[in-house]
């Protein structure tokens, strides 16, 4: 596939480029700041954009705002955002449109190259790739309903929330596809969700459930175990 890579660190841009080219992908443009990322994405119309959150000129969440900007101007754009930190609000911004084709991963995930490439593929196919840590934080907040699930069911729910399909979950957990399907049905029944296998819609349903009501989610949760201000 064709990609645009945006990261202000030359070191990481090079690293990503090496991984991608060794996997047979083509990096059509490689840029180091927000505005040039928007320009490159709109010009090259790549299969996926890989973009770092913190970039010049603002050195804050520049990359994220640029990604949202690109998706506004080109709704079919697929964007995988990489970050050094897990921030729930970043994932929110990306998912706000309700469309698939987005991902939010910690940079550390890149080193598990096969998993990273699979996430990339999912985003390219219009799916979702959310970092396990994001999902973990969401699940910690919904402790009560989570206790109704078995350990294995929680595991499957987490994988679903990350954006994985049943087959991918089956591969990952080394179980049969049928077993995964049985798990998902039981999870939906226990949580009172409508069964829905249509890829991104299922992810959104699971995420919406994990968040609980929207207002509860929008306020920072100071009781979360690893909440850190700033």
């Amino acid at each position: 596939m064709r990609l645009v890579v945006a990261d202000d660190s030359l070191l990481l841009r090079e690293g990503l480029q090496l991984i991608l080219s060794e996997a047979g992908h083509e990096v059509v443009a490689s840029v180091g700041d927000g505005p040039s990322f928007v320009a490159a994405a709109l010009e090259h119309r790549p299969d996926v954009c890989l973009v770092d959150v913190r970039m010049p000129p603002s050195h804050t969440d520049e990359g994220l705002r640029a990604a949202v900007d690109v998706r506004r101007q080109w709704p079919q754009a697929r964007v995988l955002v990489l970050s050094q930190y897990v921030e729930m609000s970043y994932a929110d911004d990306l998912l706000a449109g309700g469309r698939g084709g987005v991902g939010y991963l910690l940079k550390d995930r890149v080193s598990d190259i096969d998993a990273f490439l699979a996430s990339l593929q999912r985003v390219a196919d219009g799916g979702t790739a959310l970092d396990p840590e994001v999902i973990e934080r969401l699940m910690v907040r919904r402790r009560d309903p989570m206790e109704r699930l078995t350990a294995r069911e929680r595991e499957v729910l987490g994988q679903m929330a990350q954006g994985k399909g049943n087959q991918a979950i089956a591969d990952d957990l080394v179980v049969t596809l049928a077993a995964v399907e049985k798990h998902t049905q039981r999870i939906f029944a226990k949580l009172g969700l409508l069964p829905d296998d249509a890829g991104h819609r299922r992810v959104l349903a699971v995420l919406a459930y994990l968040r609980g009501s929207a207002p509860e989610y929008s306020a920072p949760d100071y009781s979360a175990p690893d909440y850190s201000p700033g």
Binding site: S9, L11, L12, E14, G15, L16, L18, I19, E22, R54, H59, Q84, K107, D108, V110, S111, D112, I113, D114, F116
Partner: protein, 439 residues
């Protein structure tokens, strides 16, 4: 063009000189006239203030139950505040300096009318003003009376010879002169009065000064001393504020440095190792190359972490103390450094760190900008203060601007309750002086 840049951070004016010292450079007669003017006017002012204070206080206290008293008291305090302001202006003629005005409580924007009206009641200085109105009457009256009596006695004595001729002659009574055995008659009496008058005149400036100082001291303690206290508190708060800002700044810088430096390198290292893992199956030779590159990445990361930790506090400073750390810094400088270090005992850690950064930052600046061939460094403890000076023979023109690191240094020094002064005329030499508290 020559421009001198002097940065004085310490805003404390010298206001601690003894109270009894009058305005500088005055002749004794002018001071005498000033002091006399001050004490003579002290009485009528103190009298009116006293009447207002006592009447207002008793009227207010009596009507307190029906609520009107609060307003009467507040009004009394406001009027007394006017007297206090007047007295502060008058103090200038005795102390030779503008008197500091303590801050009075002010009604806040959202306060109700009632709360606004009684705001003076909640203000400590207003009650001190009232106290001055009462006590000042005693000192004011005394000062006035003694001054008038002394002037009259002195001038009456030396002019006795002139006006005695109109005194009725009464030989039956004993005069002062005859009582102490100087003889009977007008002659000894004239001489005695002249002597006493002269003695009184001689002592007049001292006595009047004493009286003025007495009243002025009371006024100063009650009306102005709180201002000094408030200023000291503000100064201390300013230092704490600077410390907080400096700390927040350096933490933020550290976060940025870690993010841009070691963290990026470690992520890249992960990527490379991930690649190597994949390559191992397909192309072991390529994998070896990738691992070699990863090794270099790891080395660079360690080096970067090392320099970052040196930025927080250099290891040698932590392990071996200030002198060793400074010597290390001198050795790193690309020019000879002539140092005088005279610090008898160990210093508190934050002072050591500040001194170290002042010196090393100054040396870095010199190396970067001035092209100096020789630098002199002095670190000397004088009492409870530590004087740090770095002087070079370079081109000068240093600015406390961003990018020169001097602004950050300024903050560090202020946080350690110190002052930083930089003089750097174009053409040099540049001298940087820091004065720090040792405790």
């Amino acid at each position: 063009m020559t421009h001198t840049l002097t940065q004085r951070l310490d805003m404390t004016a010298d206001d601690t000189a003894p109270l009894s010292r009058g305005p500088e450079g005055d002749g004794w007669w002018r001071r005498l006239l000033r002091d006399t003017g001050y004490t003579l006017t002290a009485f009528p002012i103190a009298l009116v203030a006293f009447v207002v204070a006592v009447v207002g206080l008793s009227l207010g206290a009596a009507t307190l139950v029906i609520g009107v008293g609060f307003v009467v008291l507040a009004g009394t305090l406001v009027v007394l505040r006017g007297f206090a302001h007047l007295e502060r202006l008058r103090l200038r003629s005795v102390r030779g300096r503008t008197s500091p005005v303590p801050s009075y409580a002010v009604a806040r924007a959202g306060d109700s009318t009632v709360r606004r009206l009684v705001t003076p009641l909640r203000d400590a200085q207003s009650w001190l003003d009232l106290l001055w109105g009462v006590l000042g009457f005693a000192t004011g009256t005394t000062a006035f009376a003694v001054t008038v009596a002394w002037w009259a006695g002195s001038f009456g004595g030396i002019t006795y010879w002139f006006w005695q001729r109109w005194l009725p002659v009464d030989d039956g009574t004993e005069t002062l002169a005859s009582m102490i055995g100087l003889g009977v008659g007008r002659e000894p009496e004239i001489w005695l009065n002249l002597g006493l008058g002269l003695a009184g005149l001689l002592l007049l400036p001292v006595v009047v000064r004493l009286m003025a100082t007495m009243h002025a001291s009371l006024s100063w303690v009650l009306l102005c001393s709180r201002a000094e206290l408030q200023r000291d508190v503000r100064h201390a708060e300013g230092g704490r504020e600077a410390a907080r800002i400096a700390e927040a700044d350096s933490l933020r810088r550290l976060e940025r440095d870690i993010h841009d430096g070691p963290q990026q390198r470690l992520v890249r290292l992960q990527m490379d190792l991930g690649r190597a893992g994949k390559q191992l199956d397909q192309d072991p030779r390529q994998a070896k190359l990738t691992i070699d590159a990863a090794m270099q990445q790891a080395r660079d990361t360690v080096a970067e972490l090392r320099s970052l930790s040196r930025g927080i506090a250099p290891p040698v400073l932590v392990d071996r103390g200030l002198v060793a750390a400074l010597q290390e810094a001198f050795a790193r400088a690309p020019f000879p450094v002539h140092a005088t270090i005279d610090v008898p005992g160990p210093l508190p850690p934050h002072v050591e760190t500040t001194v170290y950064f002042v010196v090393s930052e100054a040396l870095t600046n010199v190396a970067k900008h001035s092209g100096a061939g020789r630098v002199e460094v002095g670190v000397v403890q004088v009492g409870r203060r530590l004087r740090v000076a770095v002087t070079d023979d370079g081109a000068g023109g240093a600015q406390v601007g961003k990018g020169h690191g001097l602004a950050g240094l300024e903050q560090r020094v202020r946080a350690a309750d110190g002052t930083l002064e930089i003089t750097s005329p174009a053409g040099g030499p540049t001298s940087l002086r820091a004065d720090l508290a040792c405790d």
